[in-house]
């Protein structure tokens, strides 16, 4: 039995092994991913991002428990991403510590991932692993990351619904809430809501949301609306989803039901408005273009001798020609 078929059959060990192969870009793993592709596209991907210490893991723990307690519970996957050390390349992946309540439930699968320091690669790797879980039948997949760099923002954009987790602060802390979260958030979660400062923090957040909707229409992919394509997306946004704020105390299980309700509402909105399908198409297009791009570049590089390529670079370094001239010459097969 191939790995792909075992995964479709519900073999959890095969699933774990395949996740490893895909994460490592092993040719067998990627081939299996190809076989599984027809079975993807069903899962609801929920990104959970926020600064360290905001309680993301505890939140995911509670949400997973909540969904699993429903009648006809969905199977829940969790991808927990933590940063790799830039010095050693190693990582401590500690999100499972907060998810002990999920142990023993065969309908839950938790996988920890290290960022592994590759700039664009993390979002691609996470997307691939999510696809494997999707094909394996996990209907809601939480993708948890530290909302720090561009890579994490990219992961958030891959998700259908993105939760940005904040905690109460007072005084100067509040000013530290970055406006950038509004570009990725579909739902803002104010966790540790039993702490002082929660009223103030919520007020500041609501103020930011109002300002954003008036001044700067932001399309659902987090890009500022520009150009024709942007205009269409802006129209959709205005008819549509209002970013809500949910108060939770994850460690006590408070506010979880309401939050799950908002997540479900967002999913319904995406499907009903056609935004789910549109986003899917755009995401797939981006993936296809990236693959074609990489492939074309690799093929072209094989046709050119290293010597000629270095010669071209040298002429640029010496300012003998401009980059556009050199690129054209290389592609046309002309003398530089």
């Amino acid at each position: 039995m191939t790995l792909a078929i075992s995964v479709l059959d519900g073999d959890r060990l095969a699933l774990a092994r395949l996740l490893t192969q895909v994460e490592n870009n092993h040719p067998d793993g990627l081939a299996a991913l190809d076989q599984l592709y027809p079975y993807t596209g069903k899962a609801h991907l929920v990104g959970v991002t926020g600064a360290p210490g905001t309680g993301k893991s505890s939140l995911v723990n509670q949400l997973a428990l909540y969904y699993r307690r429903r009648d006809q519970p969905p199977r829940v996957g969790v991808l927990a991403v933590d940063p790799s050390s830039p010095f050693s390349g190693g990582a401590i992946l500690g999100d499972r510590v907060r998810m002990r309540d999920l142990a023993g439930d065969q309908g839950i699968f938790i996988r920890s991932m290290a960022s592994r320091g590759s700039l664009g690669g993390l979002a691609a790797a996470t997307s691939n692993l999510a696809q494997v879980l999707d094909a394996a039948g996990y209907e809601i997949i939480f993708i948890e990351t530290v909302g720090a760099g561009q890579a994490e923002v990219d992961i958030a954009r891959h998700a259908h619904t993105t939760l940005v987790v904040e905690t109460p602060g007072f005084g100067d802390d509040i000013q530290a809430i970055k406006a950038g979260i509004l570009e990725v958030a579909d739902i803002i979660v104010l966790n540790k809501a039993d702490r002082p400062g929660v009223e103030n923090t919520e007020r500041v957040l609501r103020g930011m949301l109002q300002l954003a909707s008036v001044e700067q229409p932001v399309d659902y992919l987090g890009h500022h609306a520009t150009g024709e394509e942007g205009q269409t997306l802006v129209k959709q946004k205005s008819s549509a989803w209002e970013i809500g704020i949910a108060r939770t105390v994850a460690t006590e299980g408070q506010g979880i039901g309401e939050l799950a309700g908002m997540i479900d509402q967002h999913r319904q909105y995406l499907k009903a408005s056609g935004v789910w399908q549109q986003r899917e198409r755009q995401r797939i297009q981006a993936e296809l273009d990236a693959l074609i791009h990489a492939n074309l570049l690799a093929r072209w590089r094989k046709h050119i001798s290293e010597e000629r390529y270095q010669q071209a670079l040298n002429s640029l370094v010496k300012r003998e020609h401009s980059p556009i001239q050199v690129a054209k010459a290389l592609l046309d097969g002309d003398e530089i």
């Binding site: 060990l13 499972r96 002990r100």
Partner: protein
């Protein structure tokens, strides 16, 4: 991207009160380039085996201070076998009396480390066990 990443699960089965030692080892393994899945205190062998499976780890480091190792370790090894994860190397640290070491080795434990063990030795042994043997792929 270079040498493949070794994934190690560090777990504390049983009722130990603190995990200082386990954290020291976890950090050392991270600093040597490994990915350490840290699961915290009060794990049961069942929870550890399940985590090892989901995370597809290469090795498991058990830290046991309570003296319950002769019950916990065999139970975990049994579960790993049942889950077809026999290739996962199991290392044990903490408070393990010398007289129990031969029996643990017989059961299949790859290494036993008492207090004061140099972390370099643990790192070397894990590398040897994981990279030195044939890949199950």
């Amino acid at each position: 991207m270079g040498e493949r990443k070794i994934r190690v699960l560090i777990a504390k089965p049983g009722l130990d009160g603190h995990d200082r030692g386990a954290k020291v080892v976890a950090r050392a393994l991270r600093d040597s380039g490994m990915e350490v899945i840290y699961t915290g205190l009060r794990q049961t062998p069942e929870m550890i085996a399940e985590a090892a499976l989901q995370e597809d780890v290469d090795a498991i480091g058990l830290s046991i201070l309570s003296g319950a190792h002769m019950v916990l370790v065999p139970r975990l090894l049994e579960l790993l076998k049942a889950n077809q994860q026999r290739h996962v190397s199991v290392f044990v640290g903490g408070i393990i009396p010398d007289e129990d070491i031969p029996r643990l080795s017989e059961l299949g434990v790859s290494g036993v480390y008492g207090p004061g063990t140099l972390t370099e030795n643990i790192i070397r042994d894990i590398r040897q066990a994981v990279l030195g043997r044939n890949d199950p792929d």
